[in-house]
Symmetry: C2
Subunit: 390 residues, 2 copies
């Protein structure tokens, strides 16, 4: 194996199963270690997932590389653009790829990095009628055999304009497909990621994120003589946060962020959560909202069953009715299930209180201090419309 | 130019000056746009800077690529390791580079990406006596012509063990060299960056960051059969935050973070600031602390002169003694100098109050809520020593 690897023209061979063996020649040893460290229950499941990435630019290309290096099962890549020297201030593409379509250049690089990933490349514009049809059909493929409406597990939107975001939104609402949106500001120093679950969270038509709702006509970004700034740092951070959120969602560990902003000038990371808008202009969104409400009794029953199972296991713990010393028992399995690598409480007093407690910040999204559930979306939409029309 | 670019074997030619021209063939157009957008005053200055990166692994290699794509003047790369297939779950290195030294592989990739960057490669172990001497000498080179003790503008530590961090700390204290430290936890899901200014902030011997102070012998990470987990996402985010902080420091925009943590399971980003320890065990640190205290009158005089200059320019604004409508005048130049891309206050009311205000969080580092200046370092050091010796 090592001999083959030393030749630059021959790729590494595919592997049948992810091995946890700790040898220098195993490309998966550091990923399988996530299982041994108790972060991920079953890392090998990564090979079962299909992820579609729309927009293979400064964020999308890095997201594709991260997922490829993580050993994702299948990647679907969409872009209509070609590589230019003007893209070289962002990660991923190389000067020798100038003139290639971004999807072809990406497949070239990614298949060399990890031949185990199935790569599908679509060089098309999803905002055209024909492009949209191909987009929808490619997402649906493989869905029948799995009894789902979509054949992918997650769609990542990494496009740079409003119109393409609305098209991804339309497709995902129609297919009842969970997706994540990402964006970087025109001045290159801030960005965001957002989780969109049709019917459960706001869709992109319910409330476009603030970074897009700046009132600027996005098409002006591509005018001759006018161009947006960009930085490999901001785009690398946004891609990292996006794929980290994707891994947490797919492999079920940590807390999946509904919305996370990144203001690089102040290193400030706002969080929030948005409910769907009952007056959303997107009819597929309204249909998903209806289904979500109709499924409430089933969800409640499931939650109750889970709670009952937990409390019955708690009943097995010894109970002390008298507790004059106010001693409380913390269940070890409960403490572990919070999945936090560094537990501040485990440190001596002198260290604990220098840092704010993560739980105080992110856990209750409705507390209003660092995050808020936006309920009055009608008013918000009105203001956004006013901004966009100005 | 385009014709040359389409050949995979020929590199793009060097450019004499950074051009702001918006054409597809200009690799710097999106960076020079930072000037036009008012983020950076003089982006071209990037070519005057030299940055040393110690450790070309999962964080260091990506940091090197980001700085290269940003058009940094000179990069000094230090590592003693070779590329292995087991590194392929992180960005940057390719399977065809297996067996090469990390510094040689990095120079190969980086010089193809941007031939304008001067690359110096040092394949050596800085923790050996000979390696340390070469390290110090390479940092000092070019210092005489510029009348400085160090010939580089910034050192980035991207190493994976305590010993190497202490060596970088020693070199930077001796050379009075500002540096930034970075780290990723063994379980791959958290990390940090930290700014160290000799004499002004805590040095690494004053108070090692919490992520290193976990009491684990770092050498065990390299034992046969035991390996740390790693993820391209966490390492990409940490590299992005590190280089973003470096760009802010070098090009003087935004706020440079003294310490920024990243807990990916909760998307939580703790901030803090640490003063130097007057009982630090590092004698070079104590010397720098002494100099910093001695220079206080000069710093105060400079700050007063700046304040006077500002208040005299404020006196030029029209004054209205009667202000029964409580109208306050905001100076445009002042509003712009805050350098914030998205101003929440410019948004309609409905949007403003859904998000927390960045200023409230990060500006006063002594407020105790999200950050704290650690003063009692003697006690902290004692506790860290106890942790590390256990």
């Amino acid at each position: 194996m090592t001999l083959i690897m030393k030749s630059a023209t021959i790729r590494r061979s595919k592997v049948k199963e992810l091995s946890a063996e700790v040898v220098d020649s195993n490309p998966y040893s550091r990923l399988m270690a996530l299982q041994r460290m108790g972060i991920v229950e079953n890392y090998e499941k990564i090979r079962d997932f299909s992820v579609a990435i729309v927009g293979i630019g400064g964020v999308g290309s890095v997201a594709a590389e991260m997922l490829t290096r993580c050993g994702i099962g299948r990647l679907l890549l969409y872009d209509y653009d070609t590589v230019e020297l003007a893209n070289m201030n962002r990660l991923f593409f190389r000067p020798d790829q100038v003139g290639m379509t971004k999807t072809d250049a990406a497949v070239q690089t990614l298949s060399d990095i990890n031949p185990d990933v199935v790569l599908e490349s679509y060089s098309l514009n999803i905002t055209t009628v024909k492009g949209f049809d191909t987009f929808i059909e490619s997402l649906k493929r493989k869905s029948a055999e799995e009894g789902r409406s979509s054949g992918v597990d997650l769609v990542l939107s990494c496009v740079d304009n409003y119109e393409a975001r609305m098209v991804v939104n339309q497709a995902c609402n129609e297919l009842n497909q969970t997706w994540m949106e990402s964006g970087v500001s025109e001045d290159a120093v801030s960005g965001h990621i957002q989780l969109l679950v049709p019917g459960e969270t706001a869709c992109f038509a319910c409330a476009p994120p603030l970074v897009v709702a700046s009132g600027v006509d996005e098409r002006t970004l591509k005018r001759e003589g006018v161009c947006a700034a960009s930085l490999p740092t901001t785009m690398g951070v946004v891609a990292g946060l996006l794929v980290q959120n994707s891994l947490k969602y797919l492999l079920k560990f940590g807390q999946v962020s509904p919305y996370l902003g990144y203001n690089s000038l102040k290193d400030y990371f706002p969080a929030m959560e948005m409910k769907p808008n009952p007056q959303c202009s997107n009819s597929a969104c309204l249909q998903r909202q209806k289904e979500y409400i109709q499924a409430k009794p089933a969800r409640d029953a499931l939650a109750k069953a889970k709670l009952d199972a937990e409390s019955s296991s708690e009943a097995e713990c010894p109970l002390h009715m008298d507790n004059e010393w106010h001693i409380s028992v913390v269940d070890d399995s409960e403490a572990e299930s919070s999945n936090i690598g560094k537990k501040p409480d485990a440190l001596p007093d002198g260290l604990v209180h220098e840092l704010p407690n993560a739980d105080k910040y992110q856990e209750p999204p409705a507390s209003g201090e660092t995050s808020a559930i936006t309920d009055d979306l009608e008013e918000l939409q009105r203001q956004l419309d006013a901004l966009n029309s100005s």
